[in-house]
Symmetry: C2
């Protein structure tokens, strides 16, 4: 078993288990036995559990931000003014597609992202902001330009409304879809849900606030 094998086997197992149960509820023993490696391998290769958690995020964040940046570049280069729907599409579809292309499950990414915000892991929030900050600011800038005349504070809060709707819905996608199947005898695919999300978020962002 080569080094890269062990490292990526640990990352694979940790990613799945963290997304299922959270960080504290997942022990290193569960991770290493799932991965089929020795317990000490985590501390050897990553240093600590904290650093393992960050490494799991790194593997998601890199392709996500790269594809988003490329998507934005492409559309900005095309010249025409960017519409709200177009930007949200670049964010949702572009980001998701970028993850899928690298073999990373987008829903799992959303679950982990939600946990990073909820689970009181200070180091993780700081790490994500430092890694995410530029992408976020660029996207927010383009989006606000597509909403001329919007009050900055209103815009600021609506961005968080959208972030909350996205993270919450996608991180619980399977559970929500299961209830849908039971109650309505219908079901939704992830792309369908992203379509609905783009549409709903755009309407929300454009709502007349009367100020």
């Amino acid at each position: 078993m080569t080094q890269t094998d062990t490292v990526s086997r640990i990352l694979d197992a940790a990613e799945v288990l963290f997304a299922e149960r959270g960080f504290t509820e997942t022990s290193l023993r569960t991770i290493t036995s799932t991965a089929g490696v020795n317990l000490a391998a985590v501390n050897y290769h990553f240093g600590s559990k904290k650093e393992l958690i960050q490494a799991v995020f790194e593997r998601f964040l890199t392709p996500f931000t790269e594809t988003l940046a490329a998507e934005l570049d492409r559309r900005v280069a095309a010249g025409e003014a960017l519409e709200v729907e177009e930007l949200l599409d670049a964010l949702f579809r572009g980001g998701v597609a970028g993850l899928a292309a690298k073999g990373r499950d987008p829903q799992r990414f959303m679950r982990l992202l939600g946990m990073a915000y909820t689970q009181h892991q200070g180091h993780l929030r700081r790490y994500i902001v430092s890694r995410y900050g530029d992408s976020y600011r660029r996207f927010a800038g383009l989006l606000s330009r597509a909403l001329p005349g919007i009050d900055p504070v209103t815009f600021y809060w609506r961005l968080y409304f959208m972030l909350g709707a996205t993270i919450f819905t996608l991180s619980s996608f399977d559970a929500i879809d299961a209830i849908l199947r039971e109650d309505f005898d219908a079901q939704s695919s992830l792309p369908e849900t992203l379509d609905r999300l783009v549409l709903a978020a755009a309407a929300m962002l454009r709502a007349d606030s009367g100020d």
Copy 2:
């Protein structure tokens, strides 16, 4: 120190600590030492940590659902058809006011609610659904009647979008407001944010889905 003292001191401490750090990250020793009571008191009065967690939620859910029901009764009795904004207002302001009236911090409730969804506590989700289910169904029924012609599946998803935006935003209200203060030199009160939320959610719910 009377019994009710010990019990409510434990609940008070647990509520604050759970909302700050999550359930697993908060030990019974931290709770009891914060509350100034003996470690064994939790297991004596509540049985187990799980049951303590549920008791903390019980103290929130009861006033919340009761005030919401009363608000809905009042408006339904008034006769006129209920508008989307009116219903959302009953939910947000009514529910929040009901908590505040009983001395329970609404933001803390939202943080705990978010954790119940994210933290992989199966027993909690089941408990909340059984305690919350009727209120939820009644509210959803009234809301869908205020949105004539909406596709049921679209409505279903948008309800979750709204739930996500609400839980996420309000549970991180302080953190978001802190960034706002730093970047914009502005700040928002909770009532202001609820106003924005009602407005944004209503626009989202009413968005034309073209089907």
